[in-house]
Structure formats: structure tokens, C-alpha cells
Subunit: 212 residues, 2 copies
Amino acid sequence: MKTLSARQQCIIDFLGRFAQERSYPPTVRDIVSGCDISSTSVVDYNLDILEREGYIRRHPGISRGIELVSRVVASHIRQIPIIGQIAAGEPIPVPAPDAWDVTVSSEMLEVSEDLTRGREAVYALKVKGTSMIDALINDGDIVLMQNVNTVENGEMAAVWLKAEKEVTLKKVYRDRKRIRLQPANSQMKPIYAEPDNIEIQGRVIGVIRQLA
Amino acid sequence: MKTLSARQQCIIDFLGRFAQERSYPPTVRDIVSGCDISSTSVVDYNLDILEREGYIRRHPGISRGIELVSRVVASHIRQIPIIGQIAAGEPIPVPAPDAWDVTVSSEMLEVSEDLTRGREAVYALKVKGTSMIDALINDGDIVLMQNVNTVENGEMAAVWLKAEKEVTLKKVYRDRKRIRLQPANSQMKPIYAEPDNIEIQGRVIGVIRQLA
DNA sequence: TGTAGCAGCGAACAACTGTTCTATAGAAGA
DNA sequence: TCTTCTATAGAACAGTTGTTCGCTGCTACA
């Protein structure tokens, strides 16, 4: 990427502002008036350069067919339903099939696609209490979960301990016969469980914490 | 809002899909082919209804001038620059004024407005190492920071300990003469510091962790 | 049976808009 | 001085696109 001329910088800025205010891209002639340029061909000329340098993407022959590539990301927003809470003493709520519906769930969380990585069946839970401290998760945090019944070795999961009637967030490892549940905080010791005492309730794919 | 006809529902869906895939709205004729309609006037007719019912907004005479109002979501998204990393042994990078620029920063993070709460001067840092464990922050986490020099009592801040040449994330309390730095993990003990040994480098407003 | 309203169709117009062509001026280099 | 490259300007063309108009078929209702 070479350095941009003042005019090219102005065009990039204008593209961003325009798309922000209205919700569609500008025409070549919009840019003419927005950047005090006196000919559409000058805009065309500079847009070609900006595309060659990778700042924008053009769609030939299509009106308003200009994309700001750094903003492409903006369209990859995902809405996640917050379907309940997670606490040590109770199993996590199993998401009902219609809970995904945007209109049904009361609270929605908006995250970028690169946090969910395109996974299906993702939902969110609010953490109640400080029992997940050893997973580096505090009271009030929001946990992003994926609705699965099994996890790979080493993945963080919500595990229901049947005998203890307790849910815990741990990294799950299969050691020979037993299951090793390892806290995210490596300073803490793992606990071991019999395979038929645990139930994987979901995979933890992320944590979001809001302070003050 | 009345219930929509199948055709109107199809148009709404198409508007969403189209804007998602490309990053500009469709033309009337795009809708014609996208919804198997045989005349542009039918689209025009139904768009008018959709606008009257409040589902979309139209910009007369402007090509691709159709906004999906229910997807206002896009405007609740904020782009945060990831300007560097935070580790125990080095001061956190002070954001240069132009680091906010979308085109300048290499990596951007997208978060919903309710995470930043409309604050100014917000940036993000990637956590390097496990030295922030007592703040319940792990290696690889992303910390959302606000560029301020002072914080309220009890707020989490990035504190530079001059003598120790170390940055740490703690809740800051002013106790009589000394400053008490309290870990987020309430099981951990606070440390105390002299006022002229510390420098507030920013307020921590959130944490994002991505697993597996 | 006649009327009114809704939904759709096809064609056409006029404005909008991307693109191209020619020309000009300055800077850099041979 | 001549050439080349870059940046700009104005004009024109052709395809794109929003909008309108007349017409048809259907249903409901009196």
C-alpha cells in the first residue's frame, strides 16, 4: 500500500462518511461534489488506483458499486440470544429450538462473526455468582456457548456433575479411564471425574465482560 | 404493522440477504429477479406498502435507495482499533491521534455500542502472557480500554508501577494517603502503592475472550 | 350484474450513472 | 528540447434504474 494523495484520502473518508449517514454507497458524482472534484473522470481515475492498492472494491457497471474493503467486516454481525443464566448449582438451560428467533428472545447480544467463527447453535448465558473464578470468569460475565453434546480434548465445556449436582466450566481431557477437568487458570489443580458422572452441556466459545 | 404477504416477506428477506452479500442495496430489478416477480412496477407497488408499514425507507429518485429499517443494528456497531498489546513488563502503547483512523490501523474489532456505552477514545489491546490472571484475564484475551488519565474509585485501570517498571490491571481505591490496588479476583490480596509511584494509563471497560 | 379495491403485468420515459475519449498542464528524465 | 508519466478537466455515450401509465384478473359486496 503506497501512501495516498490528499485527494485519495478524501475519497476514502467520504466513502466511509457517506455509507454511515445514508446506508448505501455514493455514486461517482456524489464523490465529485463531496470532495470538490470537477470531473467524474478524475474520480474514476482515483478509484482505479484505490482499487489497485486494495482500499476499495469496485463492481463494474453497477451503480454505487463501491465497497470500502476495511468496512466489509461491518456486515458480518451476528445476533446471539441471551437465553438464561449459568450458576454453579443448576444445569444450564437447554436452548429451545425457537429460542434462536430474533423476535422471541428478550435480550440479544451482537457480536462480530469472527468471534463465533460461523458456528451454528450459538447462544449466550449470563454468569451468576463467582463459582467460575477458576475458569477466569466472574459474576456478571457473559459466556458464549455452542449447543453440542461432545467436545474435543482440551476444549472448554460446560460440564454437569451429576452426583454433585453442579455445573462447572472446565477444559475436558480424556485420561485413560477417567475424565480430567482442568481449570483455565493453570495455577489451579484439575479435578477428575468418572465418565458416567459427567454430562457435557455445551462448548464455551467465548467470554465477554463489561466493567464499570 | 399488518402481516406481510408472502411476496412482501420475500422482498424483506431478499433485501437483507443482498445487502449482506454485496455491500450495497439492490435495485428494483434485482428484486424482480431475486423474488421471481415479473414486473418492476410490482416491486415498486410492494415497496411503497413496505415503506408505509415502516419496514423500509425509500429515497426517491436515488438508485438503490432502499434501507431496511429493522436492521438498524448496523449502526449500533462500533469499530475499535487493536493498537497493540499489553504485557506485564512494558507500558501500554499510548494511542496516537491517527490510530483511530479506520484505514490506518491494521486490525479492527467490532463490538456492539452497549459494550462501549458510547465512550470516546476507546481502543483495544491484546493480552500477552498470564500476568493478568489475578484480574481474571488470560493470555490472548482482548482488553477494551478507554484513554483517560484518572479513574473513579473502584474502577478497573491499567496502572503503571514506576519503580517496578510493570503494568498491572487492578481496581483503584484511594485509601487515605496510599493507593490500594485490588485484584478483580476477590480471593486475591490487594497491593498498596504510593501515589507518586503509579500512573493511570487507561480505564478498562471490557474484556473479550475467544476460546478454541 | 355492476362497482370498488387489491394485486399484478408490460411497456415506456426520463433521469441517473459508469465509463470512455480527447485534451491540457506540470514534473521528471533523457 | 522532446518524451513520458501523472493528474486533471470536460464532454459525450450507452447502459442502468426509478417511476409512471394503461390494462387485466380476481375477490368482496351490494
